[in-house]
Symmetry: C2
Subunit: 431 residues, 2 copies
């Protein structure tokens, strides 16, 4: 793996060489001693270029393999992750008064979320390191993506969930053949037991807060944005923030591309948290360290009251001259509807929190009409149908007769056939 | 649209020219007078070739536009539909004793099912014909795919559902901004009211049984299989059968490719129905016309007791020298587990009924070990979490302590790190 020069502690700046089972700075400890992956950009530029990508038909994140912390040869997990579509959203843009708005739909990944990207990296590294088991504690997208990726290569996944985890989410893990340990206690109990068991057995550790390679997997979402925009850097990249790792990964993409000499400027990052659980926004605004907070939002995938790795995210927002913003649950549900209606994209609440933040940021003047904006939709709406029901409203109930239908439709003013409907130009193009 | 020569009635062989609002043979009527789309293959071969496809980076069904009944220029709906991955499933193949098994995962489509393909064609045609409204009656994948595709271009979708339609499925339609008419009556009531309203208003009709162009959209799944296998035709194509339109579409792909001179041989088609609702299997075996049957299976997307267009499907199976097979609900749930565990693909019950049928067909000697087999997974498991729970089994419950975990894991014989795990060769490659 000659593309990595070293791992650097973001706290003390000490550097280390990658080795199996090594995740955090031993001096600063597993809470503070988060590592950053540093690359040899000359090496990368030998193996990949804008031109080589233009001729590369691989529709997955592995088209950027030289930018990734995986073996540069040998097997990769086969599930097709990434190269998700970037839609130009003319109608939502017009409603918001934005000239150029793009939506990146990561809900189409194999298990339905952006987390398929870091999980693919975790499984690729586990294969390369000869690990027989990959493990994590999660009830959400990290768990399902890890279980799916592990199943695709025949690795054993061990996943720790709290006793109260929803049956549907546990079912998905079991379908993928994962060993699911239901810890009869809180999420914290499940996390602690998983950490002890991973340590004891030496299983491959897929916890985004600890494992420095996972942020690199997340990075591929924005490597794709850059290529899909033909290397014209947007003014803003907007996304929801839970533990902060996705923000860290999204920013790392632009930093890597700049260091490699592929782009000139950097975008500003807008991070969006839920009002009911916004420890990173609070720390950003107050300029303090992150303190724990209650988890009081329906956007469960970003309800992280004790983010274990917020520093990289805070650094990303600050370094980019970006900002953090909060949205209410009502604004999140409204964003589900707006996004679905204007774009045909159905996101889960946490997945569309970025869109809700975008809408608010435009109204507050943070984002200007002439700026080019990309918003990430990070998870599929099918992941959380219960909240879709809350957002959706009610159908029109009619008795089974044309008379009843006429009466009900009277107010809707639906066009008849042949009205000569002409779609708006550039209604919603795909890049 | 000069690639279409004519529409031909499959009952009386009369031919017609396509025109707006024309769906079935007026002589034979809307039940028997189903039309087949016939192409000018010389025209097609002028605009597309194996070589041009090899250089085409478009990762969607529209890479086959000259083979499709849409305007050959002008706007297409932007949601990225198709070019779904084809996985070589070494582990499932090995378990079944099959030398060469491929899984086509259509659950990754924008709204989670193969139905996104015909709905994209419907919306493209509605745009071309200047229709302002598209309509159908459905509670399932046809409805959600139509609502999503319509939203992506700003067309109005009107969808008729029976009063008992599950709230979650209705919610998805509402999120996409569809006008959902909840008909207080049976599915048959909803269907009849939709037909009357479509007729009255002249809305664009997206009912697969009536609209001859939808089968053409479904065809793209197998056009992709052919290209992904580098034009080496498989011995068998296996898929689940509900109303029969997907079978008709899958077969049409191979027929078109042969008529266009792209392939020499044709595959055999294996259609799979649920034991509790198998009117097409019964008709195939008895050599009779299809008679109505109860809908007694948990695989709701193929629970079609009164298939409105079974003739094309029956013709496909017969012409291909294929066969029909039934599977029980237990076999379907078992297939969900087997597919998830061996491949990392999570399908809904109807989506994996084909896999269940494959397993049975191998056991019964219908499919031979040395034959090359492709099985379609037609819908995402997230569409039906309730049945995933039924299939999944239970997690391992432990108290939050290492001692409890040791005891629980004792029997599992999980490998520690460093056992030198080596993945099987060709474990699950992607083509």
């Amino acid at each position: 793996m000659t593309n990595i020069t070293q791992l650097r502690c973001i706290n003390c700046s000490r550097t280390y060489q990658p080795r199996p089972g090594f995740y955090t700075c031993p001096i600063c400890g597993s809470t503070d001693g988060i590592l950053d992956v540093e690359y040899d950009y000359d090496y990368i530029n030998k193996y990949i270029s804008k031109k080589s990508l233009a001729g590369n038909r691989e529709p997955s994140m592995w088209r950027y393999r030289p930018f990734l912390p995986v073996a540069q040869e040998g097997p990769l997990p086969p599930l097709r992750v990434g190269w998700s579509p970037l839609y130009r959203s003319g109608r939502l843009g017009a409603e918001l008064g934005l000239k150029e708005l793009y939506i990146k739909d990561d809900g189409i990944n194999p298990t339905g979320s952006l987390k398929d990207r870091p999980s693919a990296v975790a499984v690729a590294r586990a294969l390369a390191e000869g690990a027989g088991v990959v493990a994590c504690s999660s009830t959400g997208n990290a768990a399902s993506s890890l279980a799916g990726a592990a199943a695709s290569v025949g690795l054993k996944a061990v996943i720790f969930v709290p006793g109260r985890a929803p049956q549907g989410k546990v079912a998905q893990l079991l379908i993928f053949g994962a060993t699911v340990i239901s810890v009869q206690g809180s999420y914290e109990d499940a996390f602690r037991l998983s950490a002890a068991a991973i340590e004891e057995h030496g299983w491959y550790n897929r916890n985004a807060a600890i494992n420095p390679y996972l942020v690199e997997g997340k990075k591929t979402a924005c490597l794709e944005v850059a290529e899909q925009l033909q290397w014209e850097v947007p003014d803003w990249v907007v996304l929801s923030v839970g533990d902060g790792c996705t923000m860290a990964g999204a920013w790392k993409a632009w930093v890597d591309l700049k260091k490699a000499g592929w782009i000139e400027k950097l975008p500003r990052m807008l991070g969006v948290q839920a009002e009911g659980c916004c420890p990173i926004t609070r720390a950003f605004r107050e300029g303090t360290r992150v303190r724990p907070m209650e988890e009081n939002t329906l956007a469960d995938s970003i309800a992280v009251g004790v983010p274990r790795n917020p520093e990289k995210a805070l650094r990303a927002v600050r370094d980019s001259r970006g900002t953090m913003i909060n949205v209410s649950d009502e604004e999140i549900l409204a964003a589900m509807r707006v996004l679905g209606r204007t774009s045909g994209v159905f996101g889960e609440p946490a997945g569309v929190a970025g869109t809700a933040g975008l809408i608010k940021a435009v109204r507050e003047g943070i984002i200007k009409p002439e700026e080019r904006v990309v918003v990430l939709v990070t998870g599929n709406g099918l992941k959380d149908v219960a909240n879709a029901i809350k957002a959706a409203g009610e159908p029109i109930r009619v008795a089974p007769s044309l008379e009843a239908l006429h009466k009900a439709l009277g107010d809707l003013k639906l066009p008849n056939y042949g009205w000569g409907y002409v779609p708006e130009p550039r209604l919603a193009e795909r890049r």
